[in-house]
Amino acid sequence: MKKKILIANRGEIALRIIRAVQELGHIAVAIYETPDKDALHIRAADEAIWIGDGPRCDYLNIDKVIGVAKKVAADAIHPGYGFLAENPDFAKACENNGIIFIGPPSEVIQALGDKVTARRIMQEAGIPMVPGTDNLTAGDAGLREALDFADKYGYPVMLKATAGGGGRGIRRVENEKQLRAELPMARAEAKSAFNNDAVFLEKAVINPKHVEVQILADKEGNTVHLGSRDCSIQRRNQKLVEIAPSLIQDKALVDRICETAVTAAKASHYVNAGTVEFLVDRDWNFYFMEINTRVQVEHTVTEMVTGIDIVRTQIKLALGKKLAFCQQDVHIRGFAVEMRINAEDPQNNFMPEGGKTVSVYRSPGGYGVRLDGFVYQGFTIPKVYDSLLVKMTVFGFSWNETVDRLRRCLNNFVITGPKTTIPYYLKLVQDPDFKKGDFDTSFIETHSHLINYDDQASEGSKLAHLIAEIHYKRENPYAI
């Protein structure tokens, strides 16, 4: 039966979800704030409802979103990622209003969103974990707990906001003095950012690999994983490049990590799509980090190597369907890499380039290329949202082939108007360590020279620039 599904998000993920909804024959309802009035998701959806001037606050407003969903008689809401996606109150509000929330039940979000609760669940299930504390007690007692922990496991330690996520609310602390100084700041920051001042400590794992596992689970408890992803290439804890599967040579280790992820999902009574994140240290120990209870930005790479449409599956699972396949049906073939093409100037500290108009947009095509974007030629990028323009996901049968294809696609990708991360990635894919598949979370830091690109550096380009100027000026300024 035709269902009405409201997409409580914007940008590329809104489009991604709309496509899945429409493929399933359902009706996609978009919502938008004023700065998004020219956005593509409005045009792609079957209905689009304006929810306010924003910015951001209306997309984050549970009452408004639920109100709109009821008004248009939506059967379900897909929250995407970010905004309300991992807000248990939102999932709860959906449940209370008889709207299907496309994601796990609110209690699961609640439990896994609270890092300390999550740790307890995982500990009980025997999942390996980085040593850490419970939520620190308020005041001096909390400081004492923190100092004791650091004494026992040694510095550096990670100071984390319990309600944080997506790389936010994390500080690395090098010594006691810094711990004393940062603890109150971390609390204050957590309070203002997440409205929850709870923080805890973890032992720092130095330059780990970030490996995560995609999970799908139905209401009957059937849980499968779709293999691993490597998201080690991060800048200040924000992922830039994601790869499926992990390039760790020891396949048995990767299998163990994936099986552990299934155990973790089952332990938390997980339903729908989720991601179990691990750190892998240099001695090939792996530690549970967290479970993300949403569709990830980088879900595309998993789709490319498994052939399984995760968003479509999410919707089906939420509508009460059972998983249509079991673990034996999941096969990983080849490699996929996603690069987040952001409107940022890498050479200016990745400063966002919002507010600029895309004057030229010419994207690559051909075998093994997938684009999930939402910009078009003439589109002015709103200043008030994130800077992601398009995710370029490239598939190849071998790692070498994938890297070659990445280079080719980046070379053929032309976006002008805003500066983008394209020239930076172009330099990155030509780096020997990247080509070898050898990287951990310190990659961006230890390969800082990659920032020294000049996208017009070649002598041919420079001369072409002059020729273009002679052409443009007509009255040749060099022939006077």
Binding site: S359, V360, R362, G378, N411, V414, T416, E459, G460, S461, K462, L463, A464, H465, L466, I467, A468, E469, I470, H471, Y472, R474, E475, N476, Y478, A479, I480
Partner: protein, 636 residues
Amino acid sequence: MNRIVQGMGIAEVLKTVRGANGYYVTNTARDLSQSDYKNRILLHTDLLAAPSREEAGYFSLEITGGASVHVDILRKQVDPFLKLELLREKMPQTMFQTLCRGVNLFGYRPYPQNVIRFVVKEFAKYVDVWRVFDFLNHVPNMQAVFEEVQAAGKILEPSVCFSTGPEHTNEYYVQKVADILAVTGQDIVLCIKNHGGLGSPKRIGDLVDAILQKYPGMVIHYHGHNTDGNDIGRIVAAVMAGAKIVDASDHAFTGYYGPPPILTVIQTLKEYGRQAVGLNEAAVMETSEVLRPERKYYEYFESQFKGFDPTVQIHKLPGGAMGSSFEQAVKGGFLEKMPEILHEELPKVQVELGNYWSVTPGSQILWTTAVSNVQGGERYGNCSGDLKNLLLGKYGPFPFYQPPDWIYEKAFGPDWRTVLAQEGGTDLIEDIDLDKERKTLADKLGYAPTEQQLVTYLQHPNDAVNFFRFEEKFGKVYVLPPSILFRRGGFRLGETLTFKDHAGKEHVIEMGPMQESEDGAETNVYLNIDHHQRHFVFENAVAEAGEAKAIKLSKKEIEDLAKAGDVRTPFTANICEISVKEGQEVKAGEKLVVLEAMKMQTPVNSEVDGVVARIVAKVGDAVQAGDELVKVTPVA
């Protein structure tokens, strides 16, 4: 063969030339470019000609110096040192020659001694023969260059500039040679520098003879221009009288105001029994075959008026000034006055100003003064800064006589004698701190400059910095042929351009469409570089309100406005100095702005006492007559 090759010492060169049965030829490609193509012949073209020019066996190839060093960076976007390096690669045997203006080097005004020495040292690494002159034939003006050239072990070729008139006797010139030899010693080549192509063949023959009578072993190099169409005659006379080296260039590019064709010189002198020593005629012909297809790309830079000008014997303008004077007359709208300027006023001014040699920078002073005298209504009513400096003897003493008192009075007012007494004579230009300049340049560029960059910067600071930045942005553009670099009116859609870059890599550029953005603010130029699509964005110039209603003010109106404190530029010029600040009090007669036109600087003074309310122009601006410069609020 007796060919002269690069690397021979001065003694061996002189011995070979003296002992040779015949004469040598210098290919003055630089002068050809400067006199007939406004100095625009590109390195690309010279590199095409290099192999056959190397084969030809010239005494030397004059390929740098004069105005070319400046034009290299200003208009041709080529590093003058890189140019010599690349030519040397292709021409290992041929001596390279330069033309140096003594204390003025390759510019228009005297430089400090330490700059002169530094510049000569750096260029001497590439240049084998140094032709040095001074427009007043004032030997001290050339001395620093003489010393540095000799110290570098290069061939020194001091010049006596030649002109005509009652004072220009053989006795005078022979004495001038004596003055030079007293400073340089005997091991030199002596140049008779006939930059206007003045005098008859007989006159030149007599002069060569007179010098050789006094100095029998002297190697004389005759340099002339073909402005009147008769330089072959003078060359023949010079060689018959004993000159050993003569100047000419490749016939594929010969025009009217530069050197005559080499081949004509050879063919003519053959009949007189004089052989061009070491010269390979086939290679001379080959060079012109190679060059001929290139000439059409330089048409724009040829003189507006073509044809020999025998009236040069009256106006005496040097070859290099012919094209530019007509160009200025066309742009300035006074073409109809050219006969009056050239045939009446200029000869008069020459006599009045001491009948010195009409060559850079003296020729520019004569020319601008003559134009100003005819255009301005009142003769010497608006003396340029350079004319004033000339009158004050800043360039050196007048060779024959001082201009009449009334000109001094026009220039400096009734108290001119006091001014002359106080300010007259050559100034000792103080050395500048080269380390400080190096640092300043480094700050401007953002990296440590090479010594060669510093040399270029010291001579033309603004233009040098602009050039270095240009190279950073556009690369080494000498690789582009004139058909690309000098293309006017844009390229055709789909036109394919091929060239090799500085590293030798071949490139193919295919021109794509040009598209304006919707709001008209930008234009996208699409092209394929080596089959990869690229596009470049250009911000469209916003048509300013002023442009639409460009009001042409008369000279009278400009003067009236100036009296009200609204200071406008009186003629087309570049701003080279703003001498005041906003809010500054000024007196009538105080300098506000210095303009530069035709390489001459002219101050614009305040007509009123007052306060500078607003400065409209900025240094480097190109301004048209009537454009606002400065607003002065007169004191009531």
